[in-house]
Structure formats: C-alpha cells, structure tokens
Amino acid sequence: MMKYQSQAVAKPYFIAAIGLFVGQILFGLILGLQYVMGDFLFPEIPFNVARMVHTNLLIVWLLFGFMGAAYYLVPEEAERDLHSPKLALVMFWIFLIAGALTILGYLLVPYSGLAQMTGNSLLPTMGREFLEQPTITKIGIVIVALAFLYNIGMTILKGRKTAITMVLLLGLTGLAVFFLFSFYNPDNLVKDKYYWWWVVHLWVEGVWELILGSILAFVLIKTTGVDREVIEKWLYIIIAMTLITGIIGTGHHYYWIGTPQYWQWWGSIFSAMEPIPFFMMTVFAFNMVNRRRRNHPNKAAVLWALGTAVMAFLGAGVWGFLHTLSPVNYYTHGTQITAAHGHMAFYGAYVMIVLTIISYAMPMLRGRDAANSERSQTLEMWSFWLMTVSIVFITLFLTGAGILQVYLQRYTGDPQPFMVVQEKIAMFYWLREVAGVVFIIGLLTYVASFFVGNADPEATVD
C-alpha cells in the first residue's frame, strides 16, 4: 500500500522503463551478432542504426526510471501528495510517444533523411554519439524535464525537506542543465568535443551520481530502519567526494582531442580519485544493512541495493581506474576496453539502481503491504544473478578482446590494421554474444517475476 495516492503515477514510468529495457537488449544482441557476422541485417539495419537504438533506449529508460523513482519517493519524503499527478501523467505520454517516434525514425528513415525532415540545418545538433536525437526531440526532452522539475520542485517546496529530496532535486536539475550543452555544436571539432563531455561525463560521473546516492539512501532507510541522520550524513560525504573528484576528472577525456596537455595531469590525478566515492558507497550499503534494526520482507530489494553498490564500484571504480591514467589511456583510448568499462559501469550504477527502486516500490504500487510473495522474489533474485553474472562475463570478454586489440594494433613493433585485428579477436566477440543471450534470459526471468505468485501471500520476515 502506498502512503500517498499520487505515488501511483510512478507505476506507468516503471512499466515503460522495463519495456524499453527489453528493446535495448534485443538491439544489443543484434549489435553483438553484427560484430562477428558483418553483413547481418545489412543494409536494412546498419550497425550505426542498431547502436543508436541500443544506447538511446538505454538513456530513455533510465530517465523513465529516475522520474518514476522521484514520483514515488518525493511524496513519501515530503509527506504530502504530488503537486500535480495529472501533469506527471501527461508528461509520461508525451515522453513515451516522442521516444517511440524517434526510435521509429531511426529504424524507418535513413539518418540523413531524418535530419532533413526534422530541419537539422536550422539548429544542427544531430550525429554525435548519444546525442543522435533530432533537434525537435531534444527540445521535447527539455520541456518534459522542465515540467517534471516543476512538479517535483513544488512538492518539495510545500512539504518536508530532507537531505534525500534536496540531493535528488539537485541531481535532476543538474541533469537538465547539462543536457542544454547538447544544443551547442560549434564547427570547431575540438570545442564540440570539449562540451560534448559536459553532457556525457558530467552526467554519469557527476549529477547522476547524486540521483544514484539519494535513491540508494532512500531504499536503505526504508529497508534497514537505520537512523536517517546517519544515512544522510553518509550521503553528503559520498556526493561531496563525487563532485570534488569528478568535475576536474572530466579532464580524463581531454588527453587526445586537441586540448592543452596539462589536462593529462589534471585528468589523471583527479579521475584516479573518482573510485573513492564508489568505494564509500559499497562500505555504506553493507554497513547499513549490517546495522539494520529490522529485517525487511522484501529481500529482493535489499539484494538489488547491495548489488548496486558492489557493481557500481567494480564497473565505474575498478574498470574506470584501469584506463584513466593518461599513459595507459594513450593505448586504450577508443578500444574494446572502453566498451567493457561502459557496459559494467552503466549496468552496475544506473541500471541496477533503477531496478532497486522498482523492486522496492512495485509491490506497494501493486497493492501489497511491503513485499511480493516468496515465489515472485525467488524468481526476481534468479534474474538478479543471471543478469549480473552475464554482465561480468560480457565485461571480461570485452576486456580480453581489448587487451589483444591494444597489443596487436597499437603496442607491438609491427602494428596491424584495425580490420585485420578484429578478425583475430573474433572468438571473444562470440563469447560476448553467448553471455548476451544469458543476459536476455535473465531479463525475461525478471519480467516473469511480475507474473508469478500474485495469488500467494506476501513474504514475511523469517
């Protein structure tokens, strides 16, 4: 049962997130196959198109997840109903339809045609990684974000203000503000790249970590019953370390793009400290669970919360550190090492935190008191392990591919052409694809967990 009726608007956001997640992974499997069977689906769905669909669906469903999280937790924290549930629902449909039209545009129209149709020449913003959306879609995203911030902001303003809601609001505002840099696309490629990272890096290694931290703190308060003062103090320390290291840490992207060489020092030193807040998050989560005042019947949600803390540290902290020092990055820049890190970091930090809040909130949104049935939770925990173990293997296989790629193409005395090297490391890509199949089995198991055991009684604390 929800404490406030208006929390219910979170539900469509979570359902859409899961649906788009399935689409994202289907296209991941297509990409993985194209890596080893180069002409698969060519020329109907060229690699670049499938990749846009894969990465844009990822971003969009994570945004759905963040918005759903905010709509669920803000009323509870602010101790009042949402300012306007109706606005939240209208924005839900606008965002979903705009997103679907954009994805259909990628799949049905050649990209240059899409650029023409949507008037890209008026304000050219398309054709840059992750920011492929037509300018009009970008404007739509800004409008949805503003309406969302207004709704959440008014709720917080009129209600109780907690550290969790303030940090969440700050993170979400930052998300919207940095997205504005996607409208800046100068002819000067070096400048273009410099500010492109203000969206991408300052999102995932900046403001999104605030969102991550506050959702994690909320779920930990609810499931462990540990004193709010303690949890919120941890939250502030973690996000302080995030921004102290992560802002100047942007410099780890300014080594080889035509920017001054002092960035090799600034970037290496500060980004080398970026794992610290992720490590603190792990210590924090386990500490709070160990000091719990009660056992929560939703064991799956606690598992997701602990999993987030561990996997974010591994993916962002460990795999990030691996290639962040400039002498190492000189060799690994833009290789499968980058892809390995990108997968584990995105999954460990942002996929998992969204699945954590869904796991925690969905039982209540569906009318339960606190948790799903034993059977449903057992299946959900199976899906946790299937997806998490397979992303670990995807990361390991890509790391293997990356090490060989770096050696053969960049490090030996007799460097070989890109395409030659790719053929030599094809075995790793086949293995990645197998791990990807296990991933989608895990994801389908996850979806199935919503449909089993609904008639069973709720799980209880044993």
């Binding site: 020329p43 050219p124 490629l189 320390i237 921004l243 100047i248 080889w256 460097p415």
Partner: protein
C-alpha cells in the same frame, strides 16, 4: 563515524567543495579556450570543412567509427585516415564512393551514401582538417 562530525558539517563540505571545484573547472575551461588555437587547427577551418562536418554528422559516421578515439568501435579510426591513405583526399573519396550497396558478404560493411562529388570533397576536406589537429601525439601509430 564519530558524533563530532555532524550531518551539517558534511553538507557544508559538499556545498563548499563542489563550489570550489566548479570555479576551478571554469577557470581551466577559460584557459583551455585561449590556448586552443595552438592545437585545434582552426586556421584551416574553412566553410568547406564546416560543410564536411555537417555531412559527417547527418550521416552518423560516428555510429560505426571513432574520430580522435571517440565514437563506436566497429570500424577503423578516422582521425588519421587522411595520413593512412597517403595524404590523399582522392583515396578517401574513392573508398567512400565505392562501397557496394548490398555490403560485402560476411564482412563488416559500410553503407553506400550516394554523395555528390562536392559532398565527397567536403567530407575528405573535413577528414584532412581533423588529421592536422594536434592531438598530443595520439594515435600511437598509423593504424589508429
């Protein structure tokens, strides 16, 4: 954590620390802007290069290729392709315009974009301009 370090203190470290590093980042950004012309090859940033960049974007070349190491990892690095192709714009244009429409069997394939001669000229001019950006010695060798 000890009781002497309170939540309010943690909050102040967060706001103070963040503000300090935002300001530092902005100053470094300012300096980067003034230093940039030494490396960014903007002296050769012509209308034609700008047109080439637009074509690069509107055909989503970044969805398969890296450019100065950023993008996708499916196809060769293009930041130095001008040099790899023997400092020849013509070789680049010949490669792009000769892609088979149905791809190459069993091989990773690049689409046929049906560019006009003028467009090909702009794209290869853009790739030439990129290859002359001073990227601090990257890539390690000609293979990119």
């Amino acid at each position: 954590m000890s009781q002497t370090f309170t939540k309010a203190m943690a909050r102040n470290v967060f706001y103070g620390g963040s503000l300090f590093f935002i300001l530092l980042f902005l100053s470094l950004t300012y300096d980067t802007h003034s230093e940039m012309p030494k490396q960014d090859n903007s002296a050769n940033l012509t209308e034609k290069v700008a047109k080439g960049k637009r074509l690069w974007e509107e055909n989503n070349c970044i969805g398969c290729h890296t450019l100065l190491g950023e993008g996708a990892y499916f196809a060769p690095e293009l930041g130095n392709v001008y040099k790899r192709f023997g400092n020849s714009k013509q070789a680049i244009e010949a490669f792009i315009s000769s892609r088979p429409r149905e791809g190459i069997k069993g091989r990773r394939s690049m689409p046929q974009f049906d560019f006009t001669a003028e467009e090909l000229d702009a794209i290869s001019e853009f790739l030439k301009y990129v290859s002359e950006i001073d990227a601090s010695g990257w890539p390690p060798n000609i293979q990119g």
